[in-house]
């Protein structure tokens, strides 16, 4: 029984951190919270990034951000700034860093870190309310981060 569960955990992890990914704890942040190297080594797909932005079980970025280009998806939040034009004034390196761990860019921000697995208080097992068992998975995979970065770069005025 125990062995089965462990095997399950490992295979779950394997789907998250695939070979070639930079592990969440190994991400190197620049002085302003930027991340230079691609997390997956594979170019991001903006179409996939768009899906992640609006999916409640994924990035759900519009929970907090208004994005005019995503108007067809209902209910954009007001907690963060509008992301219109963000591809114009932010570089890919900055966007990658903000997504991976925005606290490196904005101290104390409410925005969650999408590629971070340590340093939390009472981390849970997703939304069950129970304690997390075993290592945490990041909220988004390395490739999903790259996909969202690629989508954000299309947001130019």
């Amino acid at each position: 029984m125990k062995r089965l569960m462990l095997a399950g955990t490992f295979s779950a992890l394997a789907t998250v951190v695939t070979a070639g990914d930079v592990a969440p704890d190994d991400v190197v942040y620049g002085e302003y919270g930027d991340v230079t190297a691609s997390l997956s080594g594979v170019a991001g797909d903006p179409a996939a990034g768009k899906e992640i932005m609006v999916a409640r079980g994924k990035g759900n970025c519009i929970a907090c951000h208004q994005v005019t280009a995503l108007e067809e998806y209902p209910f954009h939040g007001e907690v963060g700034p509008s992301l219109d034009g963000v591809g114009e004034y932010r570089t890919a390196e900055e966007l990658r860093g903000i997504l991976a761990n925005p606290k490196m860019t904005y101290e104390g921000t409410i925005m969650p870190a999408f590629y971070r697995v340590s340093g939390f208080t009472r981390p849970g097992d997703a939304f069950t309310g129970k304690a997390a068992e075993g290592p945490l998975s990041p909220l988004l995979t390395a490739q999903e981060i790259e996909d969202v970065v690629a989508y954000l770069q299309t947001l130019t005025d």
Binding site: F75, A113, T121, R122, P123, G124, T128, G129, K130
Partner: protein, 281 residues
């Protein structure tokens, strides 16, 4: 962007333009007679907020209306059920609540002042703990489970007879250390989303988070009837849901942590009226 809320008219325009708006300037008068204080100056111990608002203020016009008349308020059925058990003799002593307290109206000062320090048991007691204290000590009856139907019905009754009275829980004296503990919990970020109560209910009240219009997370309306699950909901169950939503391991309903948090959050609402059973989405 709390400044939205502080910005008054401009804030309302922005909110109204973005989603199905609520009338944040509306006043609540129940049955055309009981005036409810839904906005007030913040109590002195609050540093980052100048005005406190009932959660009612942030609900849609339709949800607000349900609370204006007891015939429309689905929570009032449970008040009636609470009245039934008020006069029901139970336990080895063969007594009911009415045998010691007469009418529930005689306890109208309870809801606004709880959680409250109890000298005899030397603990901070929530209303639920006090009700169970009466059941086990005075009636020789079994305690009710925390946030169970019977408990919430009785809490709804005690709230309903106190509607319009102003929340005024004591935070000094022997209750102070528990209050400090609750305050600490309120500002502690939890879970993989790394969010504290304050991140949503102090920094962002008035803002939408996806389809949810964030309130100040006040407890003056509890127990609340939620349209979402069509039943009465207790304070600790609500806390549990909010903590779970930060992707954290929650505390248990009835735990010392949630008792402390309840005392602290109740004190943030000192100055608002009791309005339970309130209606929320």
């Amino acid at each position: 962007m709390k400044s939205f809320v502080k910005g008054g008219a401009a804030a309302l325009a922005i909110i109204a333009a973005s989603q199905v708006g609520a009338d944040e300037d509306a006043n609540l008068i129940i049955n055309g007679e009981t005036e409810i204080t839904v906005r007030a100056d913040a109590p002195e111990h609050l540093d980052n907020v100048s005005t406190i608002y009932s959660g009612w203020v942030f609900r849609s016009d339709e949800t607000q209306a349900l609370q204006m008349d007891d015939f429309d308020n689905p929570g009032m059925i449970f008040v009636d059920q609470g009245r039934d058990s008020w006069v029901l003799a139970e336990g080895s002593e063969g007594k009911s609540c009415a045998d010691c307290h007469n009418e529930p109206e005689s306890l109208a000062n309870v809801r606004p002042t709880y959680p409250k320090w109890n000298d005899e048991t030397e603990e901070v007691r929530t209303i639920a703990m006090q009700i169970n204290g009466c059941r086990t000590e005075q009636m020789g009856a079994e305690p009710w489970k925390y946030d169970s139907t019977s408990m919430l019905n009785m809490e709804a009754l005690l709230s309903s007879v106190a509607r319009g009275q102003v929340m005024n829980v004591a935070i000094d004296g022997p209750a102070q250390s528990m209050w400090e503990q609750g305050k600490e919990l309120y500002y502690t970020r939890t879970g993989q989303l790394d969010l504290s109560c304050a991140n949503c209910h102090e920094d962002n009240y008035g803002n939408y988070i996806r389809a949810d219009h964030l309130s100040q997370g006040q407890t003056n309306g509890f127990p609340v009837y939620r349209l979402k699950n069509a039943k009465l909901n207790g304070v600790h169950s609500r806390f549990k849901g909010c903590v779970r939503d930060t992707r954290a391991e929650t505390y248990a309903v009835g735990s010392e942590e949630f008792i402390a948090l309840e005392l602290y959050v109740a004190s943030r609402g000192n100055g608002l009226s009791v309005e339970g059973p309130a209606v929320r989405n």
